[in-house]
Amino acid sequence: MIKSGVYSFLVCALMGVTAYASFYIAPTESTMGLVQRIFYLHAPSGMTSLAAFLVSFVGSVAYLLTRKARWDWLAVSAAEVGIAFCTVVLLTGPIWAHPAWGVWWAWDARLTSTLVLWLLYVAFLILRTMIEDADRRALVSAFFGVFTFLDVPLVYGSIWWWRTQHPQPVVFTSAGLDPTMRKVFYLSWLSLTCLMVLLIRQRYVLEQSRDELRTLEQESEAN
């Protein structure tokens, strides 16, 4: 209890420091100005969402091999957190793009891939709502979770290669990062990763409690 409270506090503090750094420590970018600072949220969120999906994949594989419910709890928790970070990427993209380049959306490789990823994992969650039996749901969604994650490199690869063949004016670059900018970027990445761990844990505990409640209900019905 205390440990998780302390950890939450630390994460909040870290996020606070990152926010301060993004606004006051990182130098202003020459061409885009103030709005470029959203990069410190946009890019690390993308990486964090991938990390969360990787954790979900591990949970799915582990469930298929062991059939222990806690791996299913991990898989769904990490998937939801991954979707949350994906959503951040998809929202900050247009917020960044419109003032900077005058377009709300650009079908650049990373943003497009993130959109497909978002759709895939939302489908994963929808699938779970369509199966009532907990064990069946865990098994089936674990299988789909494996398929989904295996698709991720193929999605990224094919979209990236497609964009290389049909180039668009480049947006969302983080090319040529100044050293201070780089440090703020890594700080943001660290704090978002810590946030990811916190969120996954909270969601995991929630899923665990739901399962305990379900078990108690079933046992009382059986007697």
Partner: protein
Amino acid sequence: MSQRIARPVGLKFNNIEKRFGALYALKRLNLEIAAGECIAVTGRNGSGKTTLLRVASQLTRPTRGDVKYSGLSDGEIPAIGYVSHAVMLYDELTAAENLLLFAKVLGIENPKQRTAELLEATGLVARAGSLVRTFSRGMKQRLAIARALLSGPGLLLLDEPGTGLDTESMVWLVNTVRGLRDDGRTIVMSLHGESGLSQLATRATRLDAGSVVADTRAGATFQTVFAPGER
């Protein structure tokens, strides 16, 4: 390596639990069936009879507990014949095609010959080339039993096999099961009540809410197992 063994086998259900969501189909079920025994399993609807048979055939994985087969060495799989409520046959294939398909998949030697034998034994030679879609319930059941017998199984699992059969088919069924019993095969039949089939059984068991509540081996009589409210 995956050749199925056609010797009669016994079954041991150890503390079987099968949950479907909130529903316990089987709960703390313990049952031991000797090789060659012909046992009738009865109980109300929803007492777990079908699930018991599906667990025995390994179609359904128990949530807890396991099923062990006796009379086998390590690594041997028993040849099991399973007849369920559903007919388990392809409507768009003929009777002969259905049997031939499963015979080949089972890896039976001389599948065509075996198919012909079973069509003969079940009296379906005349309709061998007709699509199963056109069959009556009685004929479908005969074909289903033919399918179950393809591998010459030592263990037969029959789920309410007499349902929907006319008198003639029922007589045929009773005679067939009698023959299989006298052949020494282990037979587990789930039945709704006493009938010509239950009279073939050497043992009867009653299930209620997923557990065994009465067993002739434990001293109950056939009457009390089949009709617990009476006498």
